[in-house]
Amino acid sequence: MRFLYILTTIDRRIIYALVFLATALPFLFKKSPDVQITPEVERVYRFIDRLPAGSRIVISADYGPSSMPEIQPMLYAICKHAFTKGHKVYLLTHWTYQGLIAGQDGIMSAVRDFNREIKEGKHPERTDTLIEGVDYVSWGFRPGGMAVMLLMNSDIRMAFSRDVRGILLDSLPAMQGFRNLRDLGTVENPKGILIGLEAGFTGDVWVVYGQAQGRWPMALGSTAVVTPSYYTYLEAGQIIGILGGLKGAAEYEQLAGFKGQASIGMLSQSIVHILVVVLIFLGNLGFFLARRK
């Protein structure tokens, strides 16, 4: 009984140390376990996979440094997948400079790695490397949230007349024939998709103000904190899928055929989840053993 009592009154600093060890030690095993693919992630992957080559993948990077561990791997995996299928990627953000830099870093690391793979001959269907303005465009940041989304439903150039480098959008080959977000088609007849990578309320704003007006295909990738609220949109058919948290990123990586940063972190995620549930059990153990009524 005394041992049980000790187990139920562990000092918080020991708990912090346990959490740290449970997160750090699994990394040293260098194992990336296979994750079970959920239907909501698979739908997004299959949708992008089945799009005709040259389709448009618009990515809204609405997150900051505090969400990067979860969302950056999603951005990287989606960009790699899109480039492999020959799609064009367009980046924008509603999350000020943090989203802009995070989004640019993600897309540039995917571009660098893909260009290296082209040189190594892993993509025989491509001979030339990815070029900004032709294969991908970064539109940048605009304040206004819902106003920007509504503007983009009628004319993208009203919200972004130039890309992030200051070059007129009309002069970019990737922007030819891309007037507004309705050019992404519909779910039945898709020509592209908009993927919102969200850390806060902008996901809801995208669905309610953007997708509801334009009816174009949309998916959401989000931190696990806001993921539960997006299941209502999924069930109503307003979005086609959700990538939720680090697990969602790991699932997408697995479907795309590589083990990236998210997959590497999944062993730690498992071990520390088990630790937290065991800690909750120990807390309740003490509670019920001591409770007389």
Binding site: R13, Y16, V19, F20, T23, A24, F27, L28, K30, S66, S67, M68, P69, E70, T96, Y97, L100, G140, F141, R142, P143, M146, A147, L150, S161, R162, V207, V208, Y209, Q211, A212, Q213, T223, A224, V225, T227, P228, T232, E235, A236, G237, Q238, G244, G245, L246, K247, Q261, I264, G265, S268, Q269, V272, H273, V276
Partner: protein, 218 residues
């Protein structure tokens, strides 16, 4: 890797441990790191606002020909009125602070107008429509689908009733409210589970940085 990147990674690692030291107890190292962070991020915020918001806005205004240029310049003037709210103007020109109410009123009015239409069109209608699910085995649907439909319809109705009726838990209404609470507890449990997942993922990200980028152990 060049020398600046190496210095940067070491600085990042030192600052990471400075913040982690807060777990033991609040200490001067943590406070020093926190103040440095606030100073640097506030200054970056100033540049971000100027370079990413104000300069493009004014440049967009210049981009349009003819009467549209005048229209967008008027927007810039309206926007600039809000600058009367800045501390420096409030101290030296307090009589003109009222001008800052106009751009705020404009943005608020726009937001309100957009909300009124789009919340109904983008949320209420689709979500209510999606709740009208078949509750009886009309076309030979799977029993699990029918059960799920019942749970969804009852869950939405009871959870909504819980928030609308602040009544005592007595009688039939009390039973309805109790069922509503049950659904809400399941939802909150799932939300807690996902919140734990999110926070732990952030820690995984930091430890990955320390082990991979700093110590090159993995």
């Amino acid at each position: 890797m060049n020398i600046w990147e190496l210095i940067g990674i070491w600085l990042a690692a030192i600052l990471t441990f400075a913040v982690f030291s807060f777990l033991y107890r609040d200490n001067p190292v943590y406070k020093w790191a926190e103040h440095l962070f606030v100073g640097v991020s506030a200054a970056i915020g100033v540049y971000a606002t100027l370079d990413q918001a104000v300069v493009p806005a004014v440049r967009e205004a210049l981009a349009f020909p003819g009467v549209f240029k005048l229209v967008t310049w008027l927007a810039v003037v309206l926007g600039a009125l809000i600058l009367f709210k800045l501390e420096i103007f409030a101290t030296y020109l307090p009589n003109l602070t009222f001008l800052s109410r106009y751009p705020i009123a404009f943005v608020t009015g726009m937001g309100v107008g957009l909300t009124l239409v789009n919340v109904v069109n983008g949320y209420l209608f689709p979500q209510t429509q999606a709740t009208f699910l078949p509750l009886f085995n009309i076309q030979g649907a799977n029993w699990l689908t029918i059960l799920n439909n019942w749970i969804i319809v009852l869950g939405v109705v009871f959870a909504l009733m819980y928030f609308f009726f602040s009544a005592q838990y007595k009688g039939r209404l009390g039973m309805v409210l109790r069922v509503g609470i049950t659904f809400l507890m399941v939802a909150f449990g799932a939300m807690f589970g996902y919140t734990v997942m999110a926070r732990l993922s952030l820690l995984i990200g930091r430890i990955y940085f320390l082990l991979h980028d700093w110590l090159h152990l993995i």
